[in-house]
Structures are given as C-alpha cells and as structure tokens.
Symmetry: C2
Subunit: 404 residues, 2 copies
C-alpha cells in the first residue's frame, strides 16, 4: 500500500520552527531589518517638498500608511503624506485639488512595475505636472518596466527584492523611503523589528507566545474562523487594514492537500466599535477570536476637568479628573472583561508601551512572523496570491477588446 498524502500529520512547534529557519534565505522579509539603510536616510533627508504623495496600492501603500498614521497624531514634525490608492475620478480629483503639486514629491511604488492603478495615476498626473527626476522617486523590482521607465527619465530608484512580497514589504524600501522622507525615525522602527526577530529566533518568551497563538488558531480554525483585531487607538486603523491584507491574502489558500484554508480577519476600532460590532461578538454565533490592542501610555495628558456645576445634571461625576488615557483603557478593560465573562470567546491582549517607531515596528514584525507560522501549520504557500491573478487577465482582456 502506498499512502501519498498525509492529511493528519501532527506537527509539533519545533518542526514548524525548522521550516521557518529553512526558508530564511528564500523569504526575504525576515532579514529586512538588518539591511543597510544609510542610502535611504541620505537620500530622503534632502527631499524638502512639503507633501509626500504616494502612488501605490495594496502592499505598496498599506505598510507605510500604517506607520505614518499611527505616528502622526503624536508628532507634529512630520510632513504630509498623501496616499492615492484608487482611480475613482472623484477621489483622485478631490485629493489632487487639495495639494500644491509644485511642492510635492511623487513616490511611485509598484513591485511588479505595471500595477494598473499606479500607471493610470502616473499617466494622468503627468498631464498636470511633468513627472521627472526633480519631483519623483520610484520603488519597484529590478528590471521591471517601471524600473526601465525610471532609468530612461533619470529618476532615482530604490528596489524591492524579488523574494519580498508586497504585503511583507513595509520594512523594505517600499515603506522606509517614504517614511524616512516624512521624518519617521526608520532606525528606531527597525530596532523594534530586530528586537522581535531576536526574541523569536533565540526562542525567548515571544517564541512560545507566537507558537501558542498560531497553534490555537489553526487547531480551532473551523470553530473560530473569524479573527477580530480590536484596537483601542483610532490611529491604528491603517494598521488594522494592513493586518487584514496580511492575514487574508496570506492565509486564504488551497493547501498541499487541495483543501481550502482560511482565517477571516476583521478590523475594529475601540471604543467606537463598542457601538457597532461588539453586540455580534457577544450575542451572535461563537465563531470569533478577539485580539485587543491597547496603548499603555499615550504620553499626552488630557484630563476631564474637575467637578463643575454646569455639568452636574449628567450625574457622571465619576468621569471628573480622569485622564483620557485612563478612560480609554478602562473602556478597553471593561470590554475585555465582558467578553471574557462569556467564556467561549477566545481573547488575547497586546499592549504597546507607547506611540513611537519602536512599538509599531515590533507589532508589525510580530504579525508577519505569526502569519508565517500559521501558514506553515496550514501547509499552504503563505507568500503567493494565485486567486487574484485571473481577475487581472479578465480586466486586460476587457480593455483590449471593448471600446468605452
């Protein structure tokens, strides 16, 4: 008897860890934090335009957007970063009308070099202002058509390695160049990644945490098929979207045994979504895990004022003299307590120490590693996206065969 497939192979953590270690050279994102960034820093410090305009979509915008939006409420020194990620005429027009194009640096990001949205925007914006080496930067794969375009027009180019996927590219040039232009301390950002990398590969505490979580999610993937990230800081919204992309596009796959695998990501922001999705978590079908993300210290002290007769009527004196930092975390803790008391909703909590480069670097790098581990458990290819290629073909055929 020959038994070709092993559906039921029980994988222990060390086998998965070995697989991860064995792919360290093929999968590019692991080593990104250790690369030399001096060229990026030197180049970006000389960009003195007021606006950094990103033409990019998906993995080419979400990473930088996550870091930028996370930091911007905490740091007024940053330049404006504007993301043009879509091609609906109203939004494109609306965005471009609001910025001084002469005072803008255009960062054109496309790994493949032929992303429809990016090339459409590039061609259109070139009718408004000449795109050239004085106002543009290109980030792409070596030898792509966008790379050739940049060379022909002497536009400075930074490369994304072939083995770094779009959704794993935030710590490559795709994220670092625009972030550095905006004044983000990319050194500190990468220190957060390095810290996580070392903790994991030296099998410290974080190693066990990541494996417990990955293993739990995989073993319960049918019962708890939806994974909610509930972030109690509204500027984590772009991070949440990045998480959705990373999770959905990496883990929605047909595995080596030909069976469909999936963990469905959902993004929530607290306390806003206490008034929305929370009811479904608590009283609905129990098919969801919930990961809370909290900020321990916002380092910005806003207090509700002391007792004031003007507001006596509300009988809400318990709010008086409390800081908003305390209040939002008390809201998070109350929601956590409510959910935990329900017993069959798995919950975990990630607390970031503050709103800074190190924190967000660590968080995003950790999510990438978790996804790699889950993917290995699921026996899928975590790094491709075969399902979306057919749509691109259909689109191209539609355009070459149909006149408007």
């Amino acid at each position: 008897m020959k038994y070709d497939k092993n559906f039921y192979e029980i994988k222990d953590n060390s086998k998965i860890f070995k697989k991860i270690v064995s792919e360290l050279d093929q999968i590019g994102y692991y080593k990104l934090p250790f690369l030399d960034i001096s060229k990026i820093k030197n180049y970006s410090k000389d960009i003195n335009k007021k606006n950094i305009v990103i033409l990019g979509t998906g993995g080419s915008s979400l990473g930088a957007k996550s870091v930028y939006e996370f930091l911007v409420p905490a740091n007024y020194l940053l330049k404006n970063m504007i993301f043009i990620e879509t091609i609906d005429p109203l939004k494109v027009n609306f965005c471009l009308n609001r910025i001084d194009l002469q005072d803008s640096q255009f960062v054109i990001i496309s790994k493949s070099g032929t992303t429809t949205e990016v090339i459409t925007l590039l061609k259109y914006i070139n009718t408004l202002i000449d795109i050239n080496n004085s106002n543009s930067t290109v980030i792409t794969e070596k030898e792509s058509k966008l790379d050739k375009f940049a060379k022909k027009n002497s536009i400075r180019t930074f490369y994304i390695d072939k083995n770094v996927g779009g959704r794993f590219s935030v710590f490559s040039a795709a994220g670092l160049v625009p972030l550095s232009m905006c004044g983000v301390d990319i050194q500190k950002l990468l220190e957060g990644c390095k810290f996580l990398n070392e903790e994991f590969f030296q099998k410290n505490e974080i190693y066990d945490q990541i494996f417990s979580k990955a293993r739990f999610l995989v073993e319960n993937k049918t019962r708890f098929s939806v994974n909610v990230v509930f972030s109690y800081y509204s500027a984590l919204e772009a991070f949440n979207k990045w998480y959705v992309q990373l999770w959905a596009e990496s883990l929605g796959k047909i595995n080596i045994n030909g069976t469909r695998q999936a963990l469905t990501p959902v993004s929530l922001i607290g306390p806003v979504d206490q008034h929305s999705f929370l009811q479904l978590i608590i009283d609905g079908v129990r098919d969801k895990t919930v990961t809370f993300i909290k900020i321990e210290n916002f380092e910005k002290y806003i207090k509700v004022p002391p007792k004031d007769k003007k507001f006596d009527i509300f009988e809400m004196d318990y709010l008086n003299d409390k800081s908003m930092n305390f209040l939002i975390n008390a809201q998070a803790d109350s929601t956590i307590e409510t959910i935990l008391s329900e017993r069959d909703i798995p919950v975990d909590v990630i607390t970031l120490s503050g709103v800074n480069e190190f924190s967000i670097g660590k968080l995003m790098y950790m999510y990438q590693i978790i996804v790699s581990c889950i993917g290995a458990f699921l026996q899928i290819n975590t790094y491709n996206q075969p399902g979306v290629e057919r749509g691109k073909e259909i689109f191209k055929n539609k355009l070459t065969s149909i006149d408007e």
Copy 2:
C-alpha cells in the same frame, strides 16, 4: 402533548411582510422620510460657521458621516464636517488643533443623553471654548439628561424619537440636522428613501428583490455566514462602516428559541481591496456572500491621456484614452466575473446611478428594510442591543471604584 416552541415554522414572505406592516407604528425609522423637515432647514440655513463639529459616536455619527463622505468629493460647496468619535488623547488633540474653534458649530449628539465619549468630550471642549447657545446644537431623546442640560443653557435641541434606534437614526434629526448645516439637500435625500419605501410597501420589483435576498441569506446563514460589501468608490467607506454597524448590532442576537443568530458583515473598498481580501474570497473557505456596489456615472470626466512616447515602455496602451469612470467599473466587472466563475460564491450587484443625495438615501433606506426582513425571518429583536449593556455597567463600576 403540548408543543411550545416551533423551531421549524416555515415562514413565507407574506407572513414576514405582515409582521413588518404590523410594526410600522412601533418601529420609528419607517416613517422618518415623511416627517416635516422645515424646522431643520430653517434652523440650519442660519448656521454660518465654517466647521460643523460632531460630538457623537456609533449610530450618532455613522449615518451623517456616510452621507457626508459619499457626497463631499462631488460637491465643493459643502462645509467641513469634523467627527470626534473617540477619546484617545492623541486623536482628540490632533483633531481639535486643526480647527478654528471660534468658527465651529458643535453638534452634540447622544440618544441616551449620557454616552461616555460624548460627555467626556463635551466637558473637555468646554475648557477650550465655552459651550453655549451661540455655538452649539443638541440632538437627543426628549427628557434625557442632555436635553435637560440643553434647556438649562438655552441650547437649541432637536429630538430623536424613542422608537428610533441609533443605527436607524440617519434620517432623523441625528443625521438631517448636521447634514443640512453642511449644505446637503436633505429633501432629495429623503426622496430617495420615499421612493424605496413606496416601491417596497406597494410590492413592486424591489419587494421581490429584498425578500429574495433576505430569504437567501437566512436560509444559508450557516453555510455563508460572512456577508461582504465590496464598494467600488472609496468615498463609500463610511457607508460600509454604517452597514457593518447596522448588520452586526441588529442581527447578532439570541432569538426567541434561545439560539445564537449571526450574519457577519465585512467592509471592502475596490479596487484597493482586490490587493487584499479578494484572495481569501476566491481561494479560501467558501463561507462568504459578496455584494458589489458600483457607481454608474461619477459625472466627473478624467481621462487617461492618449498615447505618449514617454510611457511606451509600460506596454499598457490599452489604458490610453479611457476614462477613470470606465476603468474602475471595468475593474469591478472583472472582479465580479472572476468570482462568478468560481460558482459557489453568491454574488449580487447594486449599481447607483450617480453620486447624489437621492442615490445614497435610497441605498441606506433599502439596507434598513433588508435588515428588518432578515431580523423577522431570524425571529430576533432587530432593534435592541442587550449584549453591550453589561460592558457599560462594568465600565461605570470600574470608574467609581478605582482611582487613576
């Protein structure tokens, strides 16, 4: 033998329709489009501040935000509407620092009159600028503490009826007052609702469409437990969030037989999320339905320029001379075709004729009616939110018992 519960009662559409008709007087949202709005229009036309600042969260902000953000890229006459929905100190500070408080009208919206976030913000903002009848408007339930506060301070108040739930309140004063202040034609908005209302209650085409959809979703709720809305216009993002609230908070319930019911909403924006969640829909577990929303005519003509040697290198001449209106809809159609070819992913498409008040009014009113029908099929109370009340208690206890 006594048989108390009828788990398996087969409900035909006419029974559900009768139930809907029977609740027309108890459930307030149905009649909102038919109420007199002259007071709102008269009041709002005299508000000449530059910024309309909404202090509200959940149902008190999402409705107005959906309409405002949908329209704003199409209409430059609108005033600024700023939503402060959260209490993290960085975001609050960031928002307030960017606006001229002297040139702002504060619209304080809380149905209960004691929403933590709103009262916290109100107390804090009052330390920056005196909140009084010259710069504020209140929207709440009659006799709430916020109503009493407004009366004491002679602040103009508009009411939300007791039988209009927060997530069904967009066409009440909660939505109409701030929208009208911003220059939105609320008459046209309500005409969209009326049109839908009449079509449905006169059992025209839309009646069958709504019932087929509601019935399908309920009958397949276990197989297809996740309902994706995939909107191909980025300014529908706030609408998508409103949809998530409406769906999750209305349909995540324990029903009359004591069983947990749920349909899980997911919000996507195209083409951006073609680079994200789409892979999961196509190759992942088949537990999702997908509703596409398209804009037929953006009424803003932006064209990709004709052939230009500068861009020959891309070999993407098929983009030349196409309008962005055409391109984004071709992207939507390609995605629809890709998903349809997979056979076991249920898809439907809603096409809005344009970006205007009538379209969005119709769309939102339709979603409210669909939710009412689904709720009736599921034998739940669509209009309450018992699951989230406990968290509020825990929060209050935490604050009264713990010092910061």
